[in-house]
Each structure stands twice: as structure tokens, then as C-alpha cells.
Amino acid sequence: MPLGLSSRHVPSQAHVTFRWLNVGLTVVGVCQEETDRTGTMATPGGNQDADKSAASFKAFLMKNSTESNTNLYDHLTRVLMRVMDERPHNAVDVIEDLSRDVKRGLLQENQDNQSTLRDHQPTTTAGQLLAEQQRLLFSPGQETEEDEVEVETLLPNVAEIGFYLEQAGVGLGREETQRIFLALKQLLHSKPLKHCRLWGKILGVQSNYVVAEVQYREGEEEQLSTEDEEKEGETQDDEEEDEMGEVIDPLPRSTYKPPPVVPKEANGTGANKFVYFVCKEPGLPWIELPSVTPAQISAARQIRRFFTGRLDAPVVSYPPFPGNEANYLRAQIARISAGTQVSPNGFYVFEEEEGDEEDEEPRDSYVVNPDFEGFPASEMAEDPGFTWVHHVQHILKQGRCTWVNVAVKPEQESSEEEEEEKEEPDEPEPKREWGPPLLTSLSQDADMFDTPPWSARMSSTLTSQHAVAVLRSNFWPGAHAYACGKKFENIYIGWGLKFAGDGHTPSVPPPPQQECISGPEVSEALDPTLEEEQAQKAALEEQQASQEESEDMDGEEEEEEDDED
């Protein structure tokens, strides 16, 4: 008889099942019929009748359904086969799910194996391509011995940092951390760097950024800065051309003067002290982020947006952000570094300077202190205000670390007379901005929205003698630092957003500007009314009439001479 089973089932088992089914059905059929009729079990004499009723019941079972082209007999067989194969626990409880699954499986086999549960993957997925690129991370490489030694001194101790981060309860998991550090090693091989560090990971909506902080060796800086200057020159030329076109018919000139552009800091100083590289996943190529300008930092302070994960995505916001996502990312990295990169007090010291002690310029460089002793972890956790210091310069309101007076123009410094003429009397001298000096302790950090800026704790209370002190920033959620003995490290893993208290209030557009100054050529006057016009006309006519009369009297002699009329 047709089994309707797929070929994977073993025929002998099917045979066994059929026999059981047959026997079972017969028994069931017999019992049911007899109990229906007499209410008691059947007697042996009624066997032939029982066989007939069993056969007719079986035929009923084998009748194909009009809708699905299968019958109950085959279905029950398949379900029981499945139970026999799988032997699920508490089979009676899951029998409905199994039955539905079997039906679904059969249906999809009939539909050319287009099962949604078991779809075939395309031959090379994005994941497989990435795996091939990540394989390169693990190859030992073919550099010379010198290179290898240099690289290895610069590369931080991977396993140790990963261990401490795990103790602190922060991080990305062991495998991913390992892959990221191998990717950092690749970066070290590809560029001439003197310093390289994992800065952290910034999460985005579509993909994430792994960020590395590096410093180039002296004299090997990239040429990105000159490209920016060329672009600025071009825009200035365009403005001059516009001015030339308006000489013929001068419109009222706008008195709006845009605020002066604060120049960005040179590479290697202030907010641009380090260069940052990002990649989407370890193994993919590292992309260098452009250096940051003060305008970008000021704008980033006023907006609040998630990162999409694409460096060229536009940043749509108010106030408009001057740049795309790469610039916004770089500005946020600068802000986070300035706010949360800390080290144990005494790890870094200033160099011995022979110059003036009243030097106005804030010091921006430090060296590792060879005599640093380290604090016990419990002290670092209990008194973070004293034991930790910032080692990245604070960014002033201007958007730079060192203040620049933008109102002073270099040409005016030559003669005082020119200054008096050109200097705007209305604009006050901009006040110099001061920030906390480098290596300030955390006790100087102010609260915001009633929240203290830092939270410190030990990584473990059960084994406190070996525990790690962990410092967490409350203003930049995701920024952590740990210290254990003489070792410490900072890391940021988060969305790149600052804590905003009860919600961020976007800035309001400025009030509309004053109208242009009314001079004689653009002054407004009321149109004269009808009566005034008529009165004026009448007065004019009278005047003309009186003039003509006086002319007539004078000119009569002249008219006698003229005989043309």
C-alpha cells in the first residue's frame, strides 16, 4: 500500500509501525463499537464483525483530505515515526507541536524545498568575507626583527588589560578584545607611530566604531591639514567675487558680521594632540579621522544625536553641525577624552622647566614618573578626589585648549592710529578664558544635575587585597578607568552621549536681526492722501497763475515785438 513517506524512513520500521497501528486500530475500533452498543467489553464470538468495522474505520482514515491531499492514517504514521526517532521527554505534552511540525514539513517538501526554516545561505555572506579578513589578523607576518621589537614595545599588554577590564566589570568579551588588539598590531605595522592605545568603542545604530588613539612619530604627520586650508581659501575668493557684482546697483549693505572663526589647534597640541583611527570591526581597514576644529566642538556641545555607523552620513541638527559624522565623531571623542581620561595621582609629572614660573601658557606635556609608588586599591576607591587626576587638557568654552583672542588682527598691531579707526567701539574686548590646568585632581570637578561626576568602587569585596579600583564617570556613561598597583588604563564603551539630566533642551534660534539703517535713499514716507494732493495741486496752480500774470505784465512789450500769434 502506498506509504506516502519520504525516502529517509527505514522501511522495516515503517512496517513495524503499520503493524502496531493496525493492531491498535483494531483494538480501538472493536472496543469502541462494542462499548457503544452494549456498554461492556466484546466477547470473542464477535470477532468477524469487529474486523469488518476495523477495516471500514481504516479505510475512513486513509481517505485523502480534500484540502491538503494527505490522510490521517499517513499523518499519524509520520507523527509516530517522529516520536520513535526523537523520543521527546513528556511526549504526550508536545504531541500537538510535533504534529503541526510534521504537517509543515510535508507542505514545504511539496513546495520545492523552499522551507523558510531551513533556507540555504547564499554562497558568500558578509560574515564569511569578514571572517577571511579577520584571518589575516592571526597571521604572524613577515617583518624584520627590528620592526618586530619596536612594534612589540609599543603594543600594550593585551592579555593583562583584558584581564583587568574583566575584573572591573567592563569590556567587550575576551574574544573580541583579543581581535581588537590584533587589529591594533596591524595598525602599528602599517603606519609610523610612536604611541598606540585602544581608546574604546562607540556604538551606533547601524554599526559600531572601534577607536584607536595614536601619535605619529616626529615628522611623519599626514597631509590632511593642508587640504583643509586650501578649502578655506577657496570660499574666501567666492565671497569677494560676490561683492564685485553689486557695485552697479548698491543694495543696502547688511551690517551682520559673523563671529570670527576660531582657528583650530595645530596637530600635536591641545585637542588635536592625538590622532584617532576607527574601524567597524577588527580586521577591516582603519580609517583616520580628521582633526577637530573649535567650531565643531562648540556645535557638538549643543546637539545630541546617535551615531549611524557611516562616517559620511550628514549630521542633521540645529544648530547646524559643520561637518559630517566623521567630524562629529571626532568632536565627541575629543570631549570624552578631555572629560574622562584620568590617571593615578603622581603617575605623570610635569617636566622640569627652567623658564618663568609666571608663564601664562598652560603646560600641556608631561612625562611618566619613574618614582611612582602606586596607591592601594582601597584608597583609590574610597577617595577618588585625591588619588586620581586628569591628564588630558580641559577644552575651554571657545572650543580649544589654549585660548586665542580672535578680535585682535595682526595688521593693527603696527600703529596705534589705525587701531583707533578700525576697532569697533561696540564690541568689548573678549575675556580670556581659563580652564583647570593639566594634572588637576578630580576633587575639582563640579556636580551637574545633582549628580557627582565620578563613582568609585572596588571590583571585589570578597578578595579585596587583590582587587582592582574602578572609577566610573557619571557624566559620560560608559567611561571607565581602573588601577591596580602601578598599572592603570582608561576605556570608553558607550553611545557617545553625555548625561543630560532630565532631558536635552535644544537651543533656540537667535532673534531676527535689526532692519537696515534707514538713510536718505531708503527712507520710508507715507503716501500723501487725496485731499493733500489736491490741496497741493491747487496751491501749485495758484502759484503758476500768479507767476504768469507777472510775466504777462513784464512781457507785453516783448509780445508786441513778436507777431507770430
Partner: protein, 257 residues
């Protein structure tokens, strides 16, 4: 995420926070004890709420009905657990009035809010403890952003919601769209299916769906409650969600997307 699979589940999703070895070891022991003492069907490690001084570890026990029989417990050291009270409407109201700012880490801390009633002129104060705030926050997070893959739970008519033991996992293509994932809460929109899909959420774009680990794990993160991470390995029944964050809802989501 299920206590049975805690060991490897946490590695699947990179939240930025990890549990160190000591905490994992403690959790393995204490969650089993919880299951026995409270007679839960399943015990999940729900996540961690970061307070200013101390952190709360949260566990959730599920009974016969996965959707309705839920009990939440908190602990400071992953060993001693305290049961959180069931949430009532009054509690939700009090917490939304009085609790402001971050969690402090002290369960008995009181938040007080003073308000002068407009009509009577009498000053009314609402006080709420941090424990209550914790309970309400966990319930809100579960209701608004808990995620399960489609097909992972079954419900018979008028019966309890239970795990589907025949769930084989979503396919790779299904796992790349938000359609395949549902909120694990009472459906808010009248629909034929059991739970609401994530793709119909307002505002649009409040979820981040990514394929991590070479496309082997689908990770969904909520932008509404930053810190909620869900993972699912396609073609396997492995899935789970965990919340590691400071318990604050994103207040200006529309401006940020």
C-alpha cells in the same frame, strides 16, 4: 537570559559591561538555589542596574505562565537576593512623580516630592523608596522593550504562555528584519497574533539591529532604554535579553535619531 545558559549567553552580546568571574560563579550557585526555594519554573538573570554607589543585580523567576507569573529579585553581591514587591498602579504614579535623577544604590533611599495642590492650597508630599522605584523600572523595561523572536513562545486559547519546545530559531533572512521579533508583553494593538512586533514601534528607528560575530549573532539594542541588549543565534533556539544600564529612559529620543 536563562540561568542554564548564562555561561555562554553573556559572551554573545557585548553590552560594554561584563560580569567578572567571581560574579558568574556566585550567580551559578545562587540562581539554582533561588529556583529551588521559590519553586520557579525557570530563573533568568535579568541584568544590572547601575547606581551611583552600588549596583543592583536583578534576577527574574518565571512560573507556569511566562508572561504573567514573573517575580523580580535584587541583590548587591549575586548571593543574597531580596524579593521586589509586585507593582501596583499607585506605585507607578508615585514613582513618576517623585523619583528623579539616577539610582543611588541604596535600596532604602527615599525620594520626596513636594507639590502644592492648586485647588486646596495644601502642600502634598509624595515619598517613594528606591526599592519601589526599582520594581517599577524593571516592570516598565519589560513592558516596553523586552524582546523575543517570533515563534519562541506559544499560547493556547485561555491557556498560559509557554516556551515553544519545538522552536528551531529564525532563519538568517528573518533575523535581519525587525518583523521577526516581538515585544514580550501584553499586546497593545489589537492584533490576531499574540505579541506586538518591533517593526511597528513608534518612534520608528528606536531599535538598532546588527549582525555581530561575523554575522552569526543577531543583536538588537534599544535606543529607548539604553542598555537593553537582545541576542539571537539564527537557526538555533538560543536567544535572550539582558539589561545593563542606569535605569533611565531616553527622554528626547525623537531629537536624536
Amino acid at each position: 537570559m536563562d540561568s542554564n545558559s548564562l555561561l555562554y549567553s553573556l559572551d554573545m552580546v557585548s553590552t560594554g559591561y561584563v560580569l567578572n568571574v567571581e560574579q558568574r560563579a556566585a550567580l551559578q550557585t545562587s540562581l539554582d538555589l533561588l529556583k529551588k526555594n521559590y519553586r520557579f519554573n525557570r530563573v533568568l538573570f535579568w541584568g544590572k542596574i547601575l547606581g551611583l554607589e552600588f549596583h543592583y543585580f536583578i534576577a527574574q523567576g518565571r512560573g507556569a505562565d511566562e508572561l504573567k507569573d514573573k517575580k523580580n529579585l535584587y541583590s548587591f553581591d549575586c548571593m543574597d537576593w531580596h524579593l521586589l514587591p509586585a507593582v501596583t498602579e499607585q506605585m507607578i504614579l508615585d514613582v513618576s512623580t517623585a523619583a528623579k535623577g539616577r539610582f543611588t544604590g541604596d535600596a532604602s533611599h527615599q525620594y520626596t516630592h513636594f507639590e502644592t495642590d492648586v485647588e486646596t492650597g495644601v502642600e502634598v508630599s509624595t515619598t517613594v523608596t528606591e526599592e519601589t522605584r526599582l520594581a517599577v523600572t524593571i516592570q516598565r523595561i519589560d513592558e516596553e522593550v523586552s524582546v523575543v523572536p517570533r515563534g519562541a513562545f506559544t499560547k493556547t486559547r485561555d491557556g498560559p504562555v509557554q516556551t515553544n519546545r519545538c522552536f528551531g530559531g529564525l532563519s538568517h533572512s528573518e533575523a535581519q528584519a525587525l518583523d521577526g521579533f516581538l515585544h514580550f508583553a501584553e499586546p497593545k494593538r489589537a492584533r490576531r497574533s499574540l505579541l506586538d512586533p518591533l517593526s511597528e514601534d513608534i518612534p520608528d528607528g528606536s531599535w538598532s539591529l546588527q549582525l555581530e560575530r561575523n554575522g552569526n549573532v543577531c543583536v538588537i539594542r534599544s535606543l529607548l532604554w539604553l542598555g537593553l541588549n537582545f541576542f539571537h543565534v539564527p537557526m538555533t533556539p538560543q536567544h535572550g535579553y539582558v539589561y545593563m544600564g542606569d535605569g533611565c529612559r531616553t527622554k528626547d529620543l525623537q531629537l536624536m535619531i
